[in-house]
């Protein structure tokens, strides 16, 4: 039954993503849509802030705008986090200010759309922080990714022009026209199913058995909606959407799961409508979906099979592996969410990834390491774009022709940038993990002094690998057993998040800027057909070779070794 639910959730999401993609393409182009009544609001925003939304800008001006405003947001959230003690209102539970390295990590994490969360929502963030800093950034960091993609689309569509459009225009409209309407719809679905939305503080109750318990709550629904839609993933409470207030039942679970992949999938169709190349969109969609299912299906199989170590104790486990999972979701819906959230750089969870069976952990990490099967809002497709450039280049070499991408010559400069961006990801993940492992190994009695690892052996290594993978993918989920609120982890993962957010935006926008101003070459019989199944296979192969191979040794040291010791 739950397999059927999963298939239904995926299918319905794809069906919804097609019209949404068409709508997004219209928003990018500035065409008429049914939400045009918002135009006066946007006009007001631009007038007050002194921005001409119609001014054409080249790639440099756009990137400068993007980075500047991101810096302003970073300063704002740092300020909010470091002054929690003095928040004048919306802090009924008297949450205290964050420690500086934790504030740094949290600030970077939310500005970069990662939402790694080295704090716990109910004790570490005031309601004011949750709304004015975190929810705000969940909108605009997602908006930044979408706006970057809009610039990229424009660069691909241009016949020969320097102009990529206007970053501010796309940023504001991505938030008002795409994210906010969807967030309101999702919030209503959540409210209808008992998700709280209150400014009342925690309630002290005496339970049926006579225990006194504090029950944390708050303005949950608004945050859950946008964290699911904007591939943010930062929940209101520590355990995210496992918490019954964030995700009370099957309906909210289906809606939240669908919201994770909805916009990322819609972006692919938006490309099809924007460039009027629908066949290409379906080809990319097929590659992404193949990768998604390649990770999803074995994860479902592993989780329904249960934990072999518990089977050995004589427990039969027809329910599957249940550690870290909620009774109302079970193993299949938890597996579906865990793969959806890792392939898209969302990072919300409805079950604890640390407690999944060994191989499932490897699949979750691969989703983030490849980072292009749907991917984050906007940036997911940008990652795919990098792989496409490399695939086109390699194909060109194979047939001995100057490679072309959508009518533009791909030359050394573009390929260099693409390869650098593609290699940054493994460098940060493997380098970071190596650094952490080394620090652990040289420490005297690390279990007492460093105290990071919640699990011994191979699984402990997986916890560190996962943390850097999640940071570099701007994902934000974790093997949460890792005691990550220490200066080492706060600073190292903070830096990784920064680099792996901005370089993969800067590089592709540069490429788009270069391609955009090149002369358009009409297709000839010798042109590589990007929308052919042949190129689809090529693209998939490039993703696996460039993306996956580099990570396999690390995965063997972690989850695969753990698996082998369990099955014996």
């Amino acid at each position: 039954m739950d397999i059927l639910y999963s298939a239904l959730i995926i299918l319905v999401t794809i069906v919804l993503a097609i019209p949404l993609g068409r709508y997004i393409s219209k928003v990018f182009k500035g065409e008429k849509t049914f939400l045009d009544f918002l135009a006066p609001l946007e006009k007001f925003i631009f007038r007050v802030s002194g921005i001409d939304p119609n001014a054409e800008m080249d790639w440099k001006q756009n990137l400068r705008a993007l980075l500047t405003i991101n810096l302003v947001w970073f300063i704002w959230i740092m300020f909010v986090l470091l002054t929690q003690t003095w928040h004048p209102f919306w802090n009924p539970d008297n949450v205290l200010s964050m420690e500086p390295t934790q504030a740094f990590n949290t600030a970077v994490s939310f500005v970069t759309n990662t939402n790694l969360q080295h704090y716990s929502g109910e004790t570490g963030a005031s309601y004011l922080t949750q709304l004015l800093a975190l929810v705000f950034l969940q909108f605009v960091s997602a908006g930044t990714g979408i706006a970057a993609l809009a610039l990229l689309f424009r660069g691909l569509a241009n016949k020969s022009s320097k102009n990529l459009g206007n970053f501010y225009y796309h940023l504001v409209r991505a938030c008002t026209r795409i994210l906010m309407p969807l967030a309101i719809v999702l919030s209503i679905i959540l409210l209808m199913n008992q998700t709280p939305m209150t400014f009342k503080g925690a309630e002290t109750i005496v339970t049926l058995q006579g225990d006194t318990v504090n029950v944390a709550r708050g303005p949950v629904a608004a945050m859950v909606a946008i964290k699911q839609l904007g591939t943010n993933g930062g929940g209101f409470f520590g355990p995210n959407s496992t918490h019954p207030f964030e995700n009370p039942n099957g309906i909210t679970n289906a809606a939240e799961t669908s919201a994770i992949i909805l916009i990322p999938i819609a972006m692919v169709f938006a490309l099809g409508y924007f460039l009027n190349r629908k066949k290409l969109a379906w080809m990319i969609m097929a590659v992404m979906t193949a990768g998604y299912l390649m990770l999803l299906i074995p994860t479902i199989v592993q989780e329904t099979g249960g934990n072999p170590m518990i089977t050995q104790m004589g427990i039969t486990q027809p329910q599957g592996s249940m550690e870290g999972k909620e009774a109302r979701f079970g193993p299949v819906l938890s597996a579906l969410w865990s793969i959806s959230t890792t392939v898209t750089s969302n990072g919300s969870v409805n079950s604890m990834h640390d407690s999944f069976t060994a191989l499932s952990g490897a699949f979750q990490m691969m989703g983030m390491q490849l980072n292009a099967f749907y991917g984050g809002v906007g940036v997911g497709f940008i990652n795919m774009f990098i792989f496409m450039i490399i695939a086109v280049f390699i194909s060109g070499l194979m047939v001995g022709r100057t490679p072309e991408f959508l009518g533009k010559k791909i030359e050394i400069r573009e390929v260099k940038i693409a390869v650098l961006v593609a290699l940054l990801h493994p460098l940060l993940i493997l380098g970071g993990t190596a650094l952490a492992s080394h620090t652990w190994m040289i420490a005297e009695n690390p279990g007492e002094t460093l105290k990071w690892l919640n699990n011994p052996g191979f699984h402990g290594f997986s916890e560190m690998l996962y943390e850097f993978t999640s940071s570099a993918a701007n994902n934000g989920s974790g093997f949460e057993g890792l005691g990550d609120n220490t200066p080492f982890w706060n600073i190292s993962t903070g830096l990784v998040m920064l680099l792996s957010r901005y370089i993969p935006i800067i590089g592709p926008i540069m490429i788009a800027g270069f391609l955009s101003s090149k002369k358009f070459i009409p297709e000839s019989s010798g042109t590589l057909k990007l929308d052919s199944p042949m190129f689809g296979i090529m693209l998939f192969a490039v993703i696996m070779i460039v993306g996956a191979l580099l990570f396999i040794p690390a995965l063997v040291l972690g989850p695969v070794s753990e698996y082998l010791t369990i099955v014996r």
Binding site: F136, T198, V206, V213, V215, G250, N253, E323, E480
Partner: protein, 184 residues
């Protein structure tokens, strides 16, 4: 550059107002249409809130149905899972201890009959639910300690199964125990 910065600051202020204040207040206002759910669905008894429908409580007494184990002791102000890996020896010892405890309190139950959700901790630490099998297996103990007939308790359990749309069939432990207290 300076102009860029100034524009960015003003735009940021407006967007904070829009998405950090106005958007949440819109959702908050819509929440008034769901007066109970929007404050967490409290269960009120004699003017006291004794629990929330979706927040699990700790039950250890033989006369109540037990919920799932919790890594945080059902502390609803600091929730979370165990985050133990599948091969962690400490964790496996903990599961073994839960199995042993359950067998002591439920004589007659065989080890292989114990549903796995009764010996594993959920991610939230406050899972309000158990699987129907996990309730049925406790019927004998609950009935015996309350001097009720097994069939009456079993009947109560079967009427408490919630077949939720798009989720697994579950039983809300708190609601079931409340009904049990009324049964007498």
């Amino acid at each position: 550059m300076i102009k860029n910065l100034k524009n960015s600051v003003i735009l940021t202020v407006i967007l904070i107002a829009l998405f950090g204040v106005i958007y949440p207040l819109i959702i908050y206002t819509i929440g008034f249409a769901f007066p109970s759910g929007s404050v967490g669905s409290p269960i009120v008894k004699q003017e006291n809130i004794i629990g929330f429908e979706n927040i699990g409580q700790s039950f250890t007494d033989d006369k109540y149905f037990w919920g799932r184990p919790s890594a945080v002791g059902y502390n609803a102000a600091s929730t979370g899972g165990s985050n133990k890996g599948p091969s962690n020896p400490d964790y496996l010892a903990e599961v073994q201890a839960r199995i042993d405890t359950f067998l002591v309190h439920n004589p007659g139950v065989k080890k292989e009959q114990i549903p796995s959700d009764l010996v594993t901790a959920p991610g939230s630490g406050i899972d309000p639910n158990i699987s129907p099998e996990s309730a049925y297996i406790q019927v004998k103990r609950v009935a015996a300690s309350r001097n009720l007939s097994e069939s009456a308790v079993k009947e109560l359990v079967s009427t408490s199964v919630e077949n939720t749309v798009l989720g697994m069939p579950v039983i809300n432990v708190l609601k079931l125990n409340l009904k049990l207290d009324e049964l007498k």
